[in-house]
């Protein structure tokens, strides 16, 4: 098990219902893609938030990540829609 901090922004946060959660992730969850598949099972809100990944973006430790990015203990992992600032 690895402890990670998850952050959610914009409509992902609204669907999941919390802005952040500290979770212990099973050893089989190795990449961001694995994490998304695992998070879908946590609640109906998570399933709604992660239903499709086409408009999903992820940052690990405040830098943009990909589905292949590996998860390490202590990571801060943020999920959010494509950015719309500026």
């Amino acid at each position: 098990m690895r402890n990670v901090k998850l952050l959610y922004f914009a409509w992902l946060r609204e669907r999941i219902g919390v802005a952040e959660e500290d979770l212990a992730v099973p050893d089989g969850v190795i990449t961001i893609a694995d994490l998304i598949a695992w998070l879908r099972l946590r609640s109906a809100g998570h399933l709604a938030a992660f239903a499709t990944t086409t408009s999903l973006r992820c940052a690990v430790n405040q830098d943009f990540a990909t589905p292949e990015t590996l998860i390490a203990t202590g990571d801060e992992i943020a999920f959010f829609p494509p950015v719309t600032g500026g």
């Binding site: 940052a59 405040q62 943009f64 950015v83 719309t84």
Partner: protein, 151 residues
């Protein structure tokens, strides 16, 4: 070197130009872009725009964008200010300012900085409508295309 800020308060455009230029005479041109809240979105009146961001990441991401601009153009300074929170139509959202010895570098860097801010900095906009409903703004394919010109 870049001056990067995320704030709820408005910014003073004239003061930002002055701060970038103070005490120096090696600048030949300054490019600037200011983004403001339009009162309509896809033909619908909006009553407000709320900007959310990812505080721990935002300034770092903006710093990386400024460094990318400094690597591409001869810049003598740049300023990136992005507001967050609830903004009304007509209010300022974002300021980009780039100073260079050369006009074209200042203008190109300004375009680059706003294109990358729109696609690489963790801000999200939500529009509020007069009937009380709210809607998250969808990312714009045109913005992505504009940003990828510089890739």
């Amino acid at each position: 070197m870049a001056n990067i800020r995320v704030q709820t308060a408005d910014f003073d455009i004239g003061a930002e130009f002055a701060a970038l230029c103070v005490g120096r005479a090696d600048i030949g041109g300054l490019g600037c872009f200011v983004g403001t809240v339009r009162d309509t979105a896809k033909g619908r009146k909006i009553s407000a725009m709320t900007l959310e961001h990812y505080p721990a990441m935002t300034e770092a991401a903006m710093g990386r964008i400024a460094v990318a601009a400094e690597q591409r153009w001869e810049l003598l300074g740049c300023t990136l200010i992005h507001r967050v929170g609830r903004l009304l139509p007509g209010e300022n959202i974002v300021l980009v300012l780039a100073a260079s010895p050369h006009r074209q570098a200042a203008l190109d860097a300004t375009g680059f900085l706003i294109d990358w801010l729109k696609t690489r900095a963790p801000f999200w906009k939500k529009e509020s409508f007069p009937d009380g409903t709210e809607e998250w703004v969808s990312a714009n394919d045109a913005d992505e295309a504009a940003a990828s010109r510089w890739a």
